[in-house]
Amino acid sequence: MSSKSGSGKTSKGAAATKPEADAPEPAEARKAKKSEAGAALGSSFKLSSEQSGKLMRVAGIVAGIGLVLGGAGFASDSKRFAFSYLVGFVWLATIGLGALFFVIVQHLVRAGWSVSPRRHLEWLSSGILPACAVLFVPVAVFAHTLYHHWMGEHAAHDELLRKKAAYLNPGFFYGRAVVFLVLWAGISLWFARTSRKQDETGDRSLSQKMQLASAPSMLVFGLSLTFAAFDWIMSLTPHWYSTIFGVYVFAGAATSSLSALVLVTIALQKAGLLKGVSTVEHRHDIGKLLFGFTVFWAYIAFSQFILIWYANLPEETVYYRDRSAGSWMVVSLALLFGHFIIPFLGLIARTAKRNITVLAGFAVWMLVMHWLDLYWMIMPTLDVGDAHFSWIDLGGLLLPAGVGAVAVARAATGGATYPLKDPRLAESMRLENA
């Protein structure tokens, strides 16, 4: 319990000596001890004040750079910054949403293996999603720039947009956004807080409570993510429509949140904060999910493409015409290879998923690819005919990313690094990939 006072070095040293006493312990004894798992396992289950300070500093620096770059970008080209910011905002929001999805799904299926990864997903979702509620303000301010196709005056003279006006009108748009953001923040905070409460009380009924809440939460999640994707991204091209669009955005949310989870897991394991709780077996399982959702993304991307390509209707093909024009074709191909073929071949082997360097490398890679995917969805509205990457795009990414990093760091420093008294903790620790 004294880990908080110890410096990073001493707690590491203690962590190295402690597991020897645990290692030969039979599973039954471990099970008996699980109520005081925190004391029995590694020496530290909380970030030391030094580690917390370092984490907050790094996140703060990213946020600072983002603020400066974003401000400069806004000053030099506010229209471009609006679009760049939307890319960055959705990039961050989808990481939080993917994390929320996995938190809910672990309760929904009563998953045993994922007890410690679930805590890190709680950090990601409960940190990012409430921050997104604030970070949405610039999007709302820029809305008339971003969505001028249907928010502007000429929408009244557009036959198709007049028919869609019952849904696509500014008032309803803002109202829906508020509902989505409040729901996401509320659900993510509730799951994170309930889970943290169990750290203290060890009350098993909290697990049942979260399980009970998981099914309706999943329904709310699925519908809100779908309509948010329609509202914030698909409505940039208001004539065009794709009913699978929400699923496509979800596929990106899943890969990006799993990538973030990989990085958090590896960082905590390296810091010695998950000794005996999260091992190579857990990384392997997260890697499997990342691999699977990479394939899922390709499957959904192709499903969207094939129907439009086959039917060949002008109001639908316009989306792909814009994205195969000029240098956008290069971005499209970069996505095909970078978001699917390269990670597919790279992560297919068992040894790759169990190798820290390979897995971490692909996690970073997939986070970049997710940004490129959103860039590919959003920016052709602004850069018609050719892709023009600019430093403003970096500002648009780093500003929300930095704020999100600070929020996640705050969530991470607030409590234990894994659910100390979860009834399935012992099961999770015994995980082994056959």
């Binding site: 493409f305 094939i306 086959y310 060949n312 082997a349 068992r350 082994e432 056959a434």
Partner: protein, 217 residues
Amino acid sequence: MPREPERNKKGDRPAVDAGHAAAKAMSEAAVEPTTSSTEADSGEVFALMGRFESPAEITHACEALRDAGYKHFDAHTPFAVHGLEKAMGLPPSRLPFIVLGGGITGLVSAISFAYWSQAVDYPLVIGGKLAFSFQAFIPIFFELTVLFAAFATFFGMWGLNRLPTFFHPVHTYPSFHRASDDSFIVSVEARDPKFDMTKTRELLEKLGAREIGAVEA
């Protein structure tokens, strides 16, 4: 039982008869503790077998056999015992490579067949699209990749496990049926260079095996 003496060569025996005979011999051996001399009289020994009563026991026994340097031994359990592969020191399965090969074969054959039929053998313009419009065939590329990979998995598994095997000497161990009920059985094969009738038996005894007995090849 059909008698076909001309086909009754090595490895192609009437399984039931041989099984019964050996089982009878074995059950006698199990009742009265025999010396190794009687075992040596009765033909060529395939393996020495022992029965354990819990997953923990057999895991421990496999670890001990592995650490003693045995390579050719097997475990027969009523259900999958986690960690047993590691305890036995088994190398990773070669099956994934067979599956990968099957998948690649499926993908290549799908692409080449689509190309040959659409662009070479019988080009047709459909909906104003190019003769070889690969986009339309991606589902087929995918399906054939999966199909060939599934076949490779299934038949590769058969091949690696030498299936179908209609007779195996370990089935003559009298309690072998309990390997699908409540027992965990170890067979240490005689072809193992470390195998020694007396020493292996002693090791199994030390590990707490019950009903230790030899089975004939």
